[in-house]
């Protein structure tokens, strides 16, 4: 009986071994098979000024997008968490509607919106806020706006889930003890929502590191690591370097998620310890 239930793993083994695990093994080996020696590609990544700039850009854009998404996503989650019934459903529906439009289409939408003669520039010039149209597409700002737009739903959902599990009596208790709404938020709601904020930020940051479509269309001169990998492989046919870069992105993704998991486990343990003190 126990032996037969292993058969349930058969489909996933047939799918993931050749088309997921083998590819990872391939980029691993390829990254060490450069013509200039075993670790030459990794040395290139560390020393090459151009590649370092690309990695810096990728981190910078991902960090800014994470901050923007948090600043926009937290208030949305906060308000949605207090809604009940039909309005909560409508709010979540509105958040998810653009989420299901293809990334290519959403990036295209921002190409129209942020173009030199696009509606955003027309409005800003029209109300006299600026004199000349802003070149959103060249300075990376347009890229960050479009990526934030795409990433906000990813941060709203975990924060919303976290806020909904907080016992409303805790805020009420704080109010009875004389805390105004701001203090109730800062002393009760915010700290209790932080674990889910961490989850949301991690998802947004890691996803942003791998973005390809939006930076290619809206990044202007700015290059991020996915574009560099694609260019090395497709145009320059430097597969070892492309693989080394891919391995670095892969390891970063794993390390960031492992850190999140570790911090979750650590906080759970201290939480238990504290609960033990109270008991």
């Amino acid at each position: 009986m126990k032996h037969r239930s292993f058969l349930l793993y058969l489909p996933i083994t047939l799918l993931l071994t050749p088309f997921f695990l083998a590819p990872m093994a391939v980029i691993g080996t390829q990254s060490f098979s450069g013509q200039q020696g075993i670790a030459a590609e990794y040395a290139k990544v560390v020393t090459d000024q151009g590649i370092r700039t690309v990695l810096y850009n990728t981190f910078y854009v991902a960090a800014m997008v994470t901050i923007f998404s948090l600043l926009i996503g937290y208030p949305i989650a906060y308000v949605l968490a207090r809604l009940r019934g039909r309005w909560a459903t409508v709010g979540i529906f509105l958040i998810f509607l653009p989420f299901w439009a293809s990334t290519v289409i959403r990036s295209f939408a921002w190409m129209i919106l942020l173009g030199r003669k696009g509606p955003v520039n027309s409005i800003l010039v029209g109300i006299g806020f600026i004199e000349d149209p802003i070149r959103f597409i060249d300075n990376g700002l347009g890229l960050m706006i479009a990526m934030t737009y795409i990433m906000v739903p990813f941060i709203v959902v975990p924060i919303l889930n976290g806020l909904r599990t907080i016992d409303p009596n805790l805020s009420r208790a704080a109010a009875v003890l004389g805390a105004n709404p701001l203090r109730q938020f800062l002393a009760v709601t915010l700290p209790l929502s932080l674990p889910n904020v961490a989850v949301g930020c991690t998802i947004v940051f890691v996803t942003s590191l791998g973005f390809f479509v939006t930076p290619s269309l809206l990044g202007g001169d700015l290059t991020v690591v996915s574009m560099l990998i694609s260019e090395q492989a497709n145009r320059l046919l430097d597969w070892p370097l492309a693989s080394a870069l891919a391995i670095i992105v892969l390891l970063l993704t794993i390390v960031i998620f492992a850190l999140l998991r570790f911090s979750q486990l650590a906080s759970r343990r201290t939480g238990k310890a504290q609960a033990g003190v109270f008991a």
């Binding site: 793993y9 996933i12 047939l14 891919a246």
Partner: protein
């Protein structure tokens, strides 16, 4: 709290609600702009559109590239979602019900394709696809999309299996049904809504995917996002907006079906 202070906080709360309401509606603006641009008559992108016209839809319908790309995308999406769903169901059964050893690592691997940047998988899959002789065929993209679609049916079916006790399955076995009969008569009807939702999410993920298609397809197996992408890099015309609007309409219907079907199932 004094009365004016209370009023101040109430005003702040209303302001916050209004701000979030405006943000949520603002989220629709980019989508609406694409739809609006698709109905204009000029041959370059101008907003707001001045004259209503369906010429870009006519051009879109008459365009053979779009027709074959839509066909490819549907074929790839349906096949990839089917493979992902089969693998997802059977893995979820192993992890949640049979509690086969190794479930932690298998669960992690089943969700990993959702987190891993697609460019990483694309770089690794290309040589394998060449080596297996799949490069340029529909199968190359189907199998790649089955991998990135896997997390969705796996997660939805795990959720459905965890939501009810396995006692009815045990009862079925006690009454003499073998494991296949139990699955067909008991388990599958219980998890069907989750299976349908997982299938549609996997299908939608395939419809949206560009990077893997960029590496693994040939001009004859070009998918819809890939065609849009090539057009955007070549020349931006409102025809792209018309195509995007049609895709938006189809995807919205799919998602609506994915969210409504499980509820209908519950009512019966």
């Amino acid at each position: 709290m004094s009365v004016p202070e209370k009023k101040l906080w109430a005003a702040w709360s209303r302001f916050l609600n209004g701000l979030v309401g405006a943000l949520l509606i603002g989220f629709l603006v980019p989508i609406l702009v694409v739809v609006a641009v698709s109905f204009q008559s000029k041959s370059y992108l101008s907003f707001p559109p001045t004259e209503f016209s369906l010429r870009w839809y006519q051009q879109f319908i008459g365009n053979d590239d779009y027709r074959s790309a839509i066909l490819n995308s549907m074929l790839i999406g349906a096949s990839a979602a089917a493979l992902a769903t089969i693998a997802g169901i059977s893995t979820a059964l192993a992890v949640v019900r049979a509690k086969v050893p190794g479930s932690t690592i298998v669960s992690a691997l089943s969700v990993a394709p959702a987190i891993l940047p697609q460019i990483v998988l694309a770089i690794g899959l290309f040589p394998i696809s060449v080596w297996l002789g799949l490069q340029g065929t529909l199968w190359a993209v189907i199998l790649a999309h089955a991998v990135i679609g896997l997390p969705f049916p796996f997660i939805t079916v795990c959720g459905a299996l965890a939501s009810y006790s396995n006692r009815i399955e045990i009862a079925s076995m006690t009454l003499g049904a073998n494991s296949f009969q139990t699955f067909r008569l008991i388990t599958f009807p219980m998890i069907r809504p989750a299976v349908i939702a997982g299938f549609i999410f996997a299908f939608a993920a395939s419809l949206d995917e560009l990077v893997l298609a960029l590496f693994l397809s040939s001009p004859s197996t070009r998918t819809l996002p890939l065609l849009l992408w090539e057009q955007l890099n070549f020349q931006v015309t409102p025809e792209i907006a018309a195509a995007a609007t049609v895709i938006l309409a189809v995807t919205s219907l799919l998602i609506l079906a994915a969210t409504l079907l499980p509820r209908l199932g519950k009512d019966n």
